[in-house]
Assembly symmetry: D2
Homo-oligomer: 257 residues x 4
């Protein structure tokens, strides 16, 4: 199944940002490899959608925090599909607002493993290969808590804030070696049934959709955000973006109240 297309590996390919970014890269000429932790049926649906649109894709169910799982996924993908050109790192561990008392040591560690360590592992395993091959892209989906800690965000802010600094250190070492790292701060609620939907539960999620989405464009529509990811990966290396924010027109930025 080795493909002549450039390969785009999406870690965290649910029905929200990850899946739509995979679709956009597939329609733009990449072979998309979709990896997610659960929901084989949802994964198959996304791959079928891509095939139906004339694109090329395959997928894996993996638990990224397992020892060696990310490394094996990268190895298997490169063996089966060819060298990875672009990684979309779309993992995170937003667990909702929890007071310090409600945040266990275990949850705090799991947040770090899924958010920060997982990116470090991707970088360790893949960036040296990309350098040898002459370049690549690493696009990281981030969130408001990477920019400031808020009450109830102890685990999430520590993990994703640390990851932002890791992206900066990776960029400092690897941009001159032709690796484009981009940290994309999604500073808003996203239409994402697999993540926000599960976090809020069906009733609150439906209410949010009714209030802000459904034609009102008051939540990030992942299909449209995916276009920005794709354009970033096409930027000429004389004018690379390292960091950008995105939010709906109707939302206040994180620095406003």
């Amino acid at each position: 199944m080795t493909t002549s297309k450039p390969v785009c590996l999406v870690l965290g390919a649910g029905a929200g940002i990850g899946g739509h970014v995979a679709k956009r890269f597939a329609s733009g000429g990449y072979h998309a490899v979709l990896a997610r932790r659960t929901d084989e049926a949802g994964l198959t649906r996304l791959i079928n959608d891509i095939h139906a649109a004339g694109g090329s894709a395959n997928g894996h169910i993996i638990n990224a925090v397992d020892d060696g799982a990310i490394e094996a996924l990268i190895d298997d993908t490169e063996a089966a599909c060819g060298p990875i050109d672009t990684v979309i790192f779309n993992l995170g561990a937003q667990i909702g607002n929890r007071s310090l008392q409600q945040t266990s040591l275990k949850a705090f560690e799991m947040g770090w493993r899924m958010t920060t360590l997982a990116l470090f592992r991707v970088a360790k395993h893949l960036l040296p290969r990309m350098v040898e091959r002459g370049g690549g892209n690493l696009l990281v989906t981030s969130a408001t808590s990477a920019m400031r800690g808020n009450a109830g965000q102890h685990s999430h802010a520590a993990a994703i804030g640390g990851r932002r600094m890791l992206c900066q250190s990776l960029n400092a070492e690897f941009a001159p070696q032709n690796i484009h790292v981009c940290h994309i701060v999604v500073d808003a609620a996203v239409e994402a049934p697999d993540t926000l939907g599960k976090l809020l539960g069906p009733e609150r999620y439906a209410a949010l959709l009714a209030e802000r989405a459904n034609g009102k464009d008051g939540m990030v529509i992942p299909e449209h955000l995916a276009e920005t990811y794709f354009q970033v990966a096409q930027q000429h290396r004389s004018a690379w973006t390292f960091e950008m924010d995105v939010r709906p027109y109707s939302d206040q930025a994180w620095w406003n109240t």
Copy 2:
């Protein structure tokens, strides 16, 4: 000459970023209006280039700091070409590194008039009309000194750093009214004979080109940066970017040393 095309007004349309952004919007279906302070011949050349490529454009020589000049330009443009959809605010007053002793009160005031006040005047005169018409874009070219003051940047940093805060306050008031404000931090030297070329003088500019550009992509190539401006103006309003940085792959970010 009223056009059915959306109008893109470029303030500061020299041979660098401004001119290339005008070309990109023209090739993307906009009527481009190019305004610059000097060099009628250069202006004509840019307009001819756009016409030759099948695009639509006209231009003005104006001094943006003159009383009423910006306001008249907006009025004249809308009367002649139709409603302005997008403004590219590409004015600034980088005067090179000068110690406090070398920075006169006059230079300090001129920096503010050209960089900060001029944007405020554009916003005052145009944003209410855009709101009435249902929306618009305001893309602002910024620079490293908007993010941190450095020795020798007293005038530039004060002016452009103030302008960044102004962009944030404009965004807070006008994004919910469907005006997309985007602050683009060009954190690097740009291949721009009209500005950097004049600042450095012919010899130093040629040496810089030899060292960093000319196939090495070590300076921002405005033609490529222009693509990013265009894509930002096309972003769906459910996922707008307010701020992004750009630099060549080979450059260290401003926060690194």
Copy 3:
């Protein structure tokens, strides 16, 4: 009246931060020079308070935005009292929340003249002398809008955000010459009858005091903040602070909501 004490010049010496900082420096062994725009009686009261406490002080009514006024104040102070060791720059132009429509060009310019240009003028006129004399302190009272623009803050954010960058550029040039610049971000309402009191009007100010001050410590009490200013000016030069924030324990930081 030349004094053997180090001289501390307070620009913006009202009944809030400025006046209390003057008192703290006077009680700490400085001769305090208090300058304010209006209210001769209030000025006299502050000076009498300092004298009554055994301190040394004098004062001036000046309009800092007048041509040459700041420069004359510095000259007169040094002629009359001796070399200025420390400047407390406590001027600003918070005019409350105003929409873009409500913000005139004149107000925008006045905000810049009082907030940004005035600091530049102080620096131009005084820092070279301080360098010659071996050192000095420049402490600048700042506010939330220096960190982010908010709706209604067009004038204030542009001016004070520009000033923050100016402080950084001054620090970069002058810290190695033994001038301690410190930018103090007062991220909260202050018990200040002369500024916040006038901005809100007597009724709203009294209501705010009742809700948040009066023993609740929910507003910045200038007397206590003044202690921090004094300590900053005493920091050993091996461990100088350039920037710090302050707010009451009960307030959310500007980056939180």
Copy 4:
């Protein structure tokens, strides 16, 4: 040994910042509890110094990353000495500049355990007690890498940058409960034989001292920095500082080059 003095627990009490902060709090009327990972003799020396100066102190050798070690230290301290009023969190894992290739998964995890998780554990175990008792202080020594990731800082920046966000989330939840959290960014080399001395090795450390310290004040002198820690802990709650930077007068700030 229960003391009527307020207790100040210093985690990371070596011969640099930690030890000098302990001395300053002891001389200011606190009972100091010094904890460090190694060097029983060095610990005894610090405690003897404090006793010789008329202060009160005791100490422990502990490995903060061991399961339960921090929690036991807190319990033992409160049982033996009384309620902890102030924690100086002075742990970190600066391991020098290492490329991604040189940074092992193990080092990356250890950096996080010592820097980020250890603070979370302190907060979990102690802050609820402080709240019950009506208040307390948590002062966190931080570093440049908390503000931006640099090449070679993958482990350190991820850990300490995450910790900064954790401090913000702790502050958001606990400041209104009268806990003063302060994040002190030490943006410079410190005269610290136990940490920087060991990191550089004796020759390079001696050369650095010769070039920058020894009367030149070109490195942070911990004795002087300690004064700032002490003053922060004395700030009135109507004007608390959450974040401040410190560096020698002769150093460029991290945002300058």
